[in-house]
């Protein structure tokens, strides 16, 4: 490195040396931290503080448990009713299918009788 470079670098180090922070800088930083902490706590207080009391905490746990039990029972009842409804629907469909088949058979029988030749019918009448 040349002398010129050395001189310039020395001048730069001197020009850019560290300076004192403004007076009471640390105190202002600590005050801001304290302010930030207190405002964070104030924001949290409304909904967190409710559950710090044991009675309310137990009440909340009990209410949640009761809601879960009631919800479960209701869900199972609905499921059972739905299953029963499905079974009834299947039975009705089967009954309708059987009735339809019977009607088809009866109709076929009537058609068969109507289609028998008239000579056979008159001979049987003479006898």
């Amino acid at each position: 490195m040349t002398d010129k470079n050395m001189n310039l670098e020395d001048e730069l180090k001197s020009a850019l040396r560290r300076q004192q922070a403004p007076p009471h800088f640390t105190e202002r930083v600590l005050a801001q931290i304290a302010e930030q902490n207190s405002s964070t706590q104030a924001v949290r207080t409304p909904w967190w503080s409710i559950f710090t009391q044991p009675l309310l905490r137990w009440a909340a746990v009990t209410a949640t448990a009761a809601s879960l039990v009631i919800g479960g029972i209701h869900y199972r009842t609905v499921q059972r009713e739905r299953t029963q409804g499905e079974a009834a629907k299947q039975q009705l469909m089967l009954a309708l299918r059987i009735a339809g088949n019977k009607l088809q058979l009866a109709k076929a029988r009537v058609n068969e009788i109507n289609a028998t030749p008239s000579t056979n019918r008159s001979r049987s009448e003479e006898e």
């Binding site: 180090k13 850019l16 040396r17 922070a21 403004p22 640390t26």
Partner: protein, 180 residues
């Protein structure tokens, strides 16, 4: 320090923790404030930025393992915050008269030259300016600067060379080939 603070005072509250953190701030405030001041060339803005950096340090102290880690973290965060600050707020261009004067008398033989150097550095683009500040204020090597600014080492060396050449030219033009 950070390790000691957390080993001795686990919660983020309490008088002893506050005292330990205050010591930490006192030890590093000059470094953080001066990086911001040399970058922004605006004393109130530098103070505001330095305070924000220490608030962020307070929130992140649990992740820092040693005094060296704290120093590295502070330099890195201050550098990035300087860039963000400048991008968010378009500060007025600095003139020779507005560049921050050091509170202590200069060791330089020529106070006018020191002032001129600070003025030229304050007018550099953001990356070369930070490279110069970290190199000559904090005496960091190119590798350390590269790590702090997330830049390749080659880029840092190139910024240093080009900026030194530019400084020599600008200062020579305004002062003459006297001392440099």
């Amino acid at each position: 320090m950070a390790e000691r603070v957390f080993r001795d005072h686990p919660p983020h509250t309490g008088t002893r923790f506050a005292d330990a953190f205050a010591d930490l701030v006192r030890r590093h405030q000059s470094m953080v404030f001066t990086i911001a001041l040399h970058y922004l060339a605006d004393r109130p803005a530098a103070e505001e930025l330095a305070q924000d950096v220490f608030l962020q340090l307070h929130a992140n102290l649990a992740n820092l393992k040693s005094e060296e880690h704290v120093t590295f973290w502070l330099r890195k965060v201050t550098a990035h915050r300087c860039i963000d600050y400048k991008r968010r707020r378009t500060l007025p261009q600095v003139s020779l008269e507005e560049v921050a004067e050091p509170s202590e008398p200069a060791r330089s033989e020529d106070p006018f030259l020191a002032r001129k150097l600070r003025q030229v550095i304050a007018s550099l683009p953001e990356r070369p300016r930070l490279v110069m500040i970290l190199r000559y204020q904090e005496d960091m090597g190119p590798e350390e600067i590269a790590e702090a600014l997330s830049l390749p080492v080659g880029t840092v060396k190139s910024h240093l060379q080009r900026t030194l050449a530019l400084l020599r030219e600008k200062v020579s033009r305004s002062i003459g080939e006297v001392t440099i």
